[in-house]
């Protein structure tokens, strides 16, 4: 029933001899916020650049509003708002010139929304982009990205290096895009609490592959974190079915695991231990379990 806005099928992409994306499939549905998480260099930005038609697929397909962004950049980019970590803005322009320039590309430009945001951010329209602070640049870039009320808002690490106030401005713009207009949002972030708050769907990209993807609450519900205690101490993490990540030592261990709690309790019991406490894992714990350093991971039995 939900309309598909972005449909990436089996996308692979290499740069020279390095594989950046390996058979990535990703779908974004209308009216939802899609969080992209993954370590630096995992492939998030490469995926986003495909959505914008800045890179063409080595193999696989990319469709945005049913269109190929490489072949039909006007049809795609006219309906997309984009803000990146680099905030590539024309340095020599004044803030008001940037607004007029962006407006020229977008017939749907909402002048009163743009002015409201300029006021809220207390941005001086006469200032040149090159004279703006990092936070002000982000705010100017944000207005340029949202004031035409795009059907799809794409934010690549928008919060990176910004203070709490500007980060909040960006998140508020996401909330408004969804609440006021039912727009679709894709945003990547390394701040997992931000992703956890803002996302309806979450996709974890690890080493160029999709490590997990789904409705955030479903993803969260599929993993638990339990504290367990054994009668006898272990020097090495004991092998437990469904355990993905274990920390601790001796008799007390903290475990991130998938599957049913009953099953996990049983496997702890057979090793002479008991489950002291269990709760749904946080996104950060799931992230570390699925994309952490391999040293800390345990093979699922």
């Amino acid at each position: 029933m939900e309309q598909t806005v972005v449909d990436v099928e089996d996308l692979s992409r290499s740069f020279a001899d390095k594989t950046a994306l390996d058979s990535v499939s990703f779908r974004a549905t209308a009216g939802r916020v899609h969080g992209l998480v993954g370590s630096n260099g995992a492939g998030k930005t490469t995926l986003i650049r495909h959505l914008l038609g800045l890179l063409s697929a080595t193999s696989g397909s990319v469709r945005v509003f049913g269109l190929d962004p490489v072949r039909n950049p006007v049809g795609v980019l006219g309906r997309v708002g984009y803000l990146s970590e680099e905030r590539e803005l024309p340095e020599w322009m004044r803030v008001d010139e940037l607004m007029a320039y962006t407006q020229a590309f977008h017939p749907t430009w909402d002048e009163s929304y743009a002015r409201e945001l300029l006021d809220t951010f207390a941005l001086d329209p006469a200032k040149r982009i090159k004279d703006l602070s990092k936070g002000m640049r982000a705010q100017a870039g944000l207005i340029a990205a949202v004031a035409h009320r795009p059907q799809l808002l794409i934010l690549d690490e928008p919060s990176s290096g910004l203070d709490a106030v500007v980060r909040r401005d960006i998140l508020d713009a996401i909330v408004r895009a969804v609440a006021d207009d039912g727009r679709t949002v894709i945003f990547s972030s390394h701040l997992l609490d931000e992703v956890e708050r803002m996302s309806d769907h979450v996709t974890l990209i690890h080493q160029g592959r999709v490590a997990l993807s789904g409705v955030l609450d479903d993803v969260r519900g599929a993993y638990q974190r339990s504290r367990i205690r054994f009668v006898e101490p272990f020097d090495e993490p004991p092998v437990l079915a469904t355990a993905l990540l274990m920390e601790g030592g001796g008799r007390t261990w903290s475990v991130v695991h998938s599957g049913s709690l009953e099953q996990f309790r049983h496997s702890v019991l057979t090793r002479g231990g008991e489950v002291v406490e269990s709760r749904d894992a946080t996104l950060e714990e799931i992230f570390l379990a699925r994309a952490g350093r391999s040293r800390a991971q345990v093979k699922a039995a």
Binding site: D200, R220, R279
Partner: protein, 138 residues
């Protein structure tokens, strides 16, 4: 509406909102007929995706805690939410299990824990009376 989210304890955000609103209605902090904040307002206040608020309000509606009025907003229902004793027990039992397990691990006896719960409650009451008493109703 004063809602505090805790991302560290593993409870889904929509569930935290449902639980806190239910508690506020049951304790009289939210009065029957009172309007809940619009979805956009609460989403901005809590910095969460608006769909989470939609989901929370929907759950509250199914549970009979709130109702929607066409063209208006979401309002606290006249009937106070009533959790079955069994459900209420289950919520508290889970907490007690965790508490007892930790107490055991830290070498406190069950009697120690009961005494500590009483002491803790007494010191909390000195600072803030129970919410139900603030409103002067049960």
């Amino acid at each position: 509406m004063d809602i505090t989210l805790n991302l560290a304890d593993g409870v889904p955000i929509y569930r935290q909102i449902v639980n806190q609103v239910t508690y506020m209605v049951a304790s009289g902090l939210l009065e029957p007929g009172e309007e809940l904040p619009p979805i956009r307002t609460l989403a901005l206040q809590l910095t969460v995706t608006p769909n989470t608020i939609v989901k929370a309000y929907h759950e509250l509606e199914i549970a009979g805690v709130v109702h929607k009025r066409r063209g208006a907003g979401t309002f606290v229902s006249e009937r106070r939410p009533h959790m079955a004793l069994r459900d209420r027990r289950r919520v508290i039992d889970q907490r007690i299990d965790a508490l007892l397990a930790e107490a055991h691990q830290l070498n406190f006896t069950t009697n120690d824990i009961i005494r500590m719960v009483r002491e803790r409650k007494a010191s909390m009451d000195e600072v803030t009376p129970e919410p139900a008493e603030v409103k002067g109703k049960r």
